[in-house]
């Protein structure tokens, strides 16, 4: 049921993105992405909240959606990769679902990357309603002809005594398994980085450098996961 995708390190990439352990993804094939890649045009819609963006004038260029677009363009020569973002902070999954049909209609993506869960945890939304919102969003995206991939919350050790992510991460994982939607396990990945000393997420700083490097790694690893899930031939130990 779970396909292991240990984050691979490719030549020429910052070694810090690599991480032992994992898998940091629950993977299912992305058939619409596969088709879009074959047609040489891949459009991706990133729907997310505050942790999908970085502040400042260059924030957008350094945040993971832009980094992922760059990595995908490099790895898919000859394919036009476009990324549209619908990112606003303080939105729960239910908030995002409200504007989803309009977003899907305008951008007509082959893939919807959906980052959510953190704000639901912060507002202690009803976990059942969170799961229901996820299911609605998946149905809407699929009806609009898009594959869906989840990105779960960030690991944030400073705020752990204030935000109980556990049940939301679990529910997202469970909805993903039932609906056969891949999950990019950002939480597990960042926890592993923290445990292995790659990044110090406890540190307090106003500077963007660490945040930028983290988003760069996340963008690259997301690109790898998209390619992996859209592979023409999945490995035999794949999706079951």
């Amino acid at each position: 049921m779970f396909l292991g995708l240990a984050a691979p390190v490719h030549a020429g990439e910052p070694t810090e993105c690599g991480v032992d352990g994992g898998p940091f993804a629950v993977a299912y094939p992305l058939n619409r992405v596969k088709k879009a890649v074959a047609n040489k045009s891949l459009s991706i819609l990133v729907v997310g909240a505050g942790s999908s963006q970085l502040p400042g004038p260059n924030g957008a260029a350094h945040s993971y959606p832009a980094r992922m677009q760059q990595a995908l363009s490099k790895k898919l020569p000859g394919v036009t990769v476009s990324v549209v973002t619908d990112v606003k902070s303080r939105r729960t999954a239910a908030d995002m679902v409200k504007t989803l049909p309009a977003q899907l209609a305008t951008s007509r993506p082959a893939l919807m990357l959906w980052q959510t869960g953190t704000v639901d945890a912060m507002q202690a939304a009803d976990p059942d309603q969170f799961s229901a919102a996820l299911e609605t969003g998946i149905a809407q995206a699929r009806a609009a002809g898009a594959d869906v991939m989840f990105i779960n919350p960030q690991y944030s050790p400073r705020t752990e005594s204030m935000i109980a992510l556990g049940v939301y991460v679990e529910n997202m994982r469970w909805v993903a398994v039932q609906q056969e939607v891949p999950v990019f396990d950002r939480f597990g990945l960042m926890k592993a980085w923290s445990d292995q000393g790659t990044f110090d997420f406890y540190s307090a700083t106003k500077k963007l450098d660490m945040a930028g490097r983290v988003h760069d790694c996340i963008g690259r690893l997301l690109a790898d996961l998209v390619l992996e899930a859209a592979k023409p031939d999945l490995p035999t130990d794949g999706n079951k």
């Binding site: 507002q123 204030m162 963007l208």
Partner: protein
């Protein structure tokens, strides 16, 4: 068969003490030591142990009170106890506010601009503090005491029924549990959502504990001691252990048939999933067999710290919540290296044990101070003192 002995069953204190230690370890975020706690090896965790034993001791202490002094006095004492727990909860909330206000001032990181928004509630204390006092706003890991308060508030009529017709009381409790699942009953929380520990569901384990205390355990003893039960319990624990391993080693997940996954997930802690109840029962059955009531080791000094902690559970529980805040504070402000995590965990348990010893020392001198009472009076007061912590 109602227990008539004034001897406290030390096993209750021992396992409640251990549960308090586990809750403390689990409540420190990102604590490597929490790998040893039981939630990683099966479906249930220390919360079930705590709630069951609390139900058991509450029935034991207030059942005696109700028999000797009547319904009104016993109910009044329970309300007083609920009030004490409420005060303790609000006290902990004040400490929590102090910790996170400090963190709010000292922390900044553009990576976490969204997460820091959780501190926005500090900007409108008028609403937040009132919602906290109404038990609707409950910070992370501060859900157990509000549950306990509600359980105590509703316990008097149950106790009355338990002492007349224990089985119908248990049946009523089971009915409330089932109806809460059927109709989605829960108490509302603030700013939205519901209580993390649904009192309508968790009351079942509490009442079951009370039912066991008032003779149910004795009635069940034949079933508990049957080899069939033992085999079933062991088989269930092994199954739960294997499923739990798939959480840590996702490669193993491939061996769990999809149909099994669909049946068991999600394992609902808020509404006390049946799988969790069964897991707790299996643990309890095996524990009762391995540790008899008169086990000599219960008197050994090695178990003394845990037994003392269990005997003064309210104070030690609150201290544990405070210490877990403090532990998280050490991780964020000093160091989060693994040796520090181990040190914080060990030191926390030592402080809990030390405080429990101090509380019992105070109890001793207070009892001596209250006029070295003559025979019967002290005797009557003893259960509520020795077993005063419900």
């Amino acid at each position: 068969m109602v227990p008539t002995t004034t001897d406290r069953d030390l096993r209750l204190d021992l396992f409640r003490g251990l549960a308090l230690w586990l809750i403390f370890l689990d409540h420190i975020p990102s604590n490597a030591v929490s790998w040893i706690t039981i939630r990683n090896y099966g479906f249930s965790d220390a919360t079930e142990i705590f709630v069951f034993i609390s139900g058991y001791t509450v029935a034991f202490v207030y059942g005696r009170s109700m028999r000797l002094k009547g319904f009104l006095i016993a109910a009044a004492r329970m309300l007083k106890r609920a009030w004490q727990i409420y005060v303790a909860h609000i006290f902990l909330f004040a400490i929590y506010l102090a910790e996170i206000s400090y963190i709010a001032h000292s922390f900044e990181n553009p990576l976490y601009s969204e997460e820091m928004g959780v501190l926005n509630f500090l900007n409108n204390p008028d609403v937040t503090i009132i919602q906290a006092m109404l038990l609707k706003f409950k910070p992370v890991n501060m859900d157990v005491l509000p549950l306990y308060i509600v359980l105590l508030l509703g316990f008097a009529p149950f106790l009355w029924l338990l002492m007349r017709s224990p089985n119908s009381a248990l049946l009523a409790s089971g009915a409330i549990y089932s109806l809460s699942w059927l109709f989605g009953w829960n108490l509302p929380a603030w700013p939205q959502g519901v209580w993390v520990f649904n009192p309508f569901a968790w009351q079942f384990l509490f009442i079951f504990g009370a039912w066991c205390a008032l003779g149910g355990a004795a009635r069940l003893s034949r079933a508990i001691n049957s080899p069939v039960t033992l085999v079933l319990a062991i088989a269930y624990l092994l199954l739960a252990f294997f499923i739990a391993m798939t959480w840590h080693v996702p490669g193993l997940g491939a061996y769990v048939p999809t149909i099994v996954g669909e049946v068991i997930y999600p394992i609902d802690k808020t509404n006390l999933d049946v799988l969790r109840i069964l897991h707790f029962l299996a643990l309890a059955i095996i524990t009762v067999r391995l540790v008899p009531r008169d086990w000599p080791a219960l008197k050994s000094p090695w178990f003394k710290p845990a037994i003392l902690c269990g005997a003064h559970s309210l104070g030690i529980f609150c201290l544990g919540v405070f210490l877990s805040f403090a532990g998280h504070f050490v991780f964020t402000e000093v160091s989060n290296r693994v040796p520090v995590q181990i040190l914080v965990s060990v030191a926390g348990i030592a402080i809990m044990a030390g405080a429990a010893w101090l509380i019992s020392w105070y109890r001793t001198i207070e009892r001596q101070g209250s006029g070295s009472g003559s025979g019967p009076k002290t005797q009557a007061a003893k259960p509520s003192l020795a077993g005063g912590d419900t």
